[in-house]
């Protein structure tokens, strides 16, 4: 039998009983759609996290104050040693490492910003001029903090786009004076709209020179230091240098945590990939269930079509041809289901993107290949027994009944 004829014959069968076909395609389709949507969700989460970390900057090493040692006084009770503050001097000392290109110390707090009668509470970030390049931030108007000795500061500030529009409306914000806490600052720049990244929305932010923020919050302690390594290869050096420099400055105590962006990202990446694979496999169980359904449908078909099978044998169909006819029919049903499932999965993905535009829902390529392939393979495998039964049918008996 020619392949085209085999397909045509199976197509006639599939078309001949639309109800049966619809239900089988539905079962397969649900399975495939489940795999596609669930993996799209997992992969979307993974890409989301990757993007968030990526937007932090490139080749980043993050130094944060904290305890890296805990001592147990009694079983079940952990006593942490008090940590030393991370200071501006610590941060500046990091520049001695040859692997470090630039760095930006950070202080974070909240403050009231006032212009005329308008008043608003905003997150306040104290940092230096290099922050702009490290975090790949863009200016809408004006300029970022001036370069210079971070120990001294000018009374200037840079504000987020949303802060600007809320305080000044349509009026130009550049050159205006605002009051933050009990100090006055001149607005020298407005940030471009960037949206949220890793919980920090630059649109709602006010950025001050580090020394001004230290004075405002009355603290020397840095929130963290962002260090940019000279290249990807030097990230590890920058990290170990940072640990060593701080340790020496803190009298031998390892009381800071140094993270590399890559390490954090790789961990998230692994976790989310494993999660995607796990939930994808769970969804794939529904494909096996659909396979069993196809087996049932085919077993019923063999019983219903006894006469036809007997006739085909009388007309000279070999056992192989009969088996092939059943396999083709099962594969056709599975392919229909896979196509429907992929379509529904894509629809679900688009709805997901519509609802959560920040998460890049996208089924990974292996899921898009594996789901339909699994559908077809299970369908054919589960048809082995019914097809054998059909091929072994005794034509005399099959034909003798009405």
């Amino acid at each position: 039998m020619r392949v085209a004829d085999l397909l045509d014959f199976a197509w006639q069968v599939v078309r001949g009983s639309p109800g049966r076909t619809l239900l089988t395609v539905l079962a397969m389709g649900i399975g495939v759609a489940a795999v596609v949507m669930v993996t799209a969700l997992g992969e979307g989460a993974r890409l989301y996290v990757a993007n968030q970390f990526g937007s932090l900057g490139t080749n980043l090493v993050i130094v944060l104050p904290g305890r890296s040692e805990t001592a147990g006084a009694m079983p079940g009770v952990l006593v942490g040693k008090t940590s030393r503050d991370l200071t501006l001097e610590d941060a500046l000392a990091l520049k001695r490492s040859p692997a470090v290109r630039r760095l930006a110390p950070l202080i974070v707090g909240a403050g009231d910003i006032r212009s005329g009668a308008r008043n608003r509470e905003v997150p306040v970030l104290g940092t230096t001029a290099e922050m702009l390049d490290i975090r790949h931030m863009d200016m809408a108007r004006g300029q970022f903090l001036p370069a210079g000795d971070p120990r001294h500061s000018q009374p200037v500030c840079v504000i987020g786009a949303k802060v600007a529009s809320e305080l000044f409306g349509q009026r130009p914000a550049l050159g205006e004076w605002v009051r933050i806490g009990d100090r006055r600052f001149r607005v020298i720049g407005v940030m471009a709209r960037q949206g949220e990244s890793l919980g920090m929305n630059t649109d709602e932010l006010v950025i001050l020179p580090l020394a001004a923020a230290q004075a405002l919050f009355n603290t020397e302690a840095l929130f963290r230091v962002l260090v940019e390594a000279k290249s990807r290869e030097q990230i590890a050096d920058a990290k170990s240098d940072a640990e060593e420099i701080i340790r020496l400055r803190h009298e031998g105590e390892r009381d800071v945590i140094v993270l590399t962006q890559d390490a954090v990202l790789a961990t998230f990446d692994r976790i989310l990939r494993a999660l995607t694979l796990a939930v994808g496999s769970l969804a794939a169980i529904s494909l096996a269930v659909a396979g069993i359904l196809i087996m049932n449908v085919m077993l019923i078909a063999v019983t219903q079509r006894r006469r036809e099978i007997g006739l085909l044998k009388a007309l000279g169909a070999t056992g192989r041809q009969i088996r092939l006819a059943f396999f083709t029919e099962a594969a056709l049903l599975a392919l229909g289901g896979a196509a429907a499932g992929l379509a529904v999965g894509e629809l679900g993905r688009r709805i997901g993107i519509e609802m959560y535009p920040t998460i890049p829902f996208q089924a990974p390529w292996w899921a898009l290949v594996a789901a339909p392939a699994t559908a077809v393979i299970t369908a054919v495998l589960f048809t082995v027994a019914p097809a054998r039964r059909a091929a072994m049918l005794d034509p005399v008996q099959a034909l003798s009944r009405r």
């Binding site: 039998m1 006639q12 006469r307 006739l311 000279g316 070999t318 034509p395 005399v396 034909l399």
Partner: protein, 224 residues
């Protein structure tokens, strides 16, 4: 052309052996028009099934066109059926979802004949059996006589050595039965070999050679 020698066929029914055919010898020459008659259970259908390679004898040899086909594998006998044997059944056995033309074409499709050649043969068969206007009708839109004409056209599609008809008129009224019979006789007149199994004496009598089967043996063999 067809030579059966010492054909035996026994079935086991409910633990008892039933001898459907006992040592049947039969030769059928090319171009013969032969009827097999006998009461139900006499073994006439079993004989037809063995000639049609749908069933296998327990003993004896069967030669078809000078070839011993007694011990062929299932697939080999399927091929021989496809090439040399055309079946016509009492209940027509048309595939209900296929049109008349598709039903007639079925053996050609199973034999992997090219679509162009198929189309040519199909057009000839439709014309020959007066089915041109019914070509795209499904069996449930055809009369009994038309169904059986489709079945005969299907049986003839591969140009078989022999047409085996098992009660071809058994499911038709008298008038239509006569009509179908004359179609089969036309096959015979154009040189085909036709074997009809029937228990209607009137139909059996029209054949040029008449076998009577009783209890698994041929008890008479008359020729005109």
């Amino acid at each position: 052309m067809i030579r059966l020698t010492g054909i035996m066929r026994t079935f086991v029914v409910g633990g008892e052996e039933v001898r459907a055919l006992r040592a049947v010898n039969l030769e059928i020459a090319r171009g013969e028009y032969l009827s097999i008659m006998g009461p139900s259970g006499s073994g006439k259908s079993t004989l037809l099934n063995i000639i049609g390679l749908l069933d296998r004898p327990n003993a004896g040899t069967y030669e078809l066109d000078e070839r011993n086909v007694t011990a062929l594998t299932d697939d080999e006998s399927a091929r021989v059926r496809r090439e040399k044997i055309g079946f016509v059944f009492q209940f027509f056995h048309l595939v209900p979802r296929l049109t008349a033309a598709q039903n007639i074409e079925l053996p050609l499709v199973l034999a992997s004949i090219e679509p162009a050649e198929r189309k040519k043969r199909l057009a000839r068969l439709l014309a020959e059996y007066g089915l041109e206007e019914r070509a795209n009708h499904r069996p449930d839109q055809l009369s009994g006589g038309q169904c059986q004409r489709v079945a005969i056209a299907r049986a003839m599609s591969m140009g078989p050595t022999v047409i085996l008809a098992d009660e071809p008129t058994g499911n038709l009224d008298r008038h239509t039965g006569q009509e179908v019979l004359s179609v089969l006789e036309r096959v015979h007149h154009s040189g085909g070999t036709v074997v009809i199994v029937t228990h209607d004496p009137e139909i059996g009598a029209r054949a040029h050679r008449r076998l009577r089967v009783l209890d698994g043996a041929i008890v008479s063999d008359d020729r005109n």
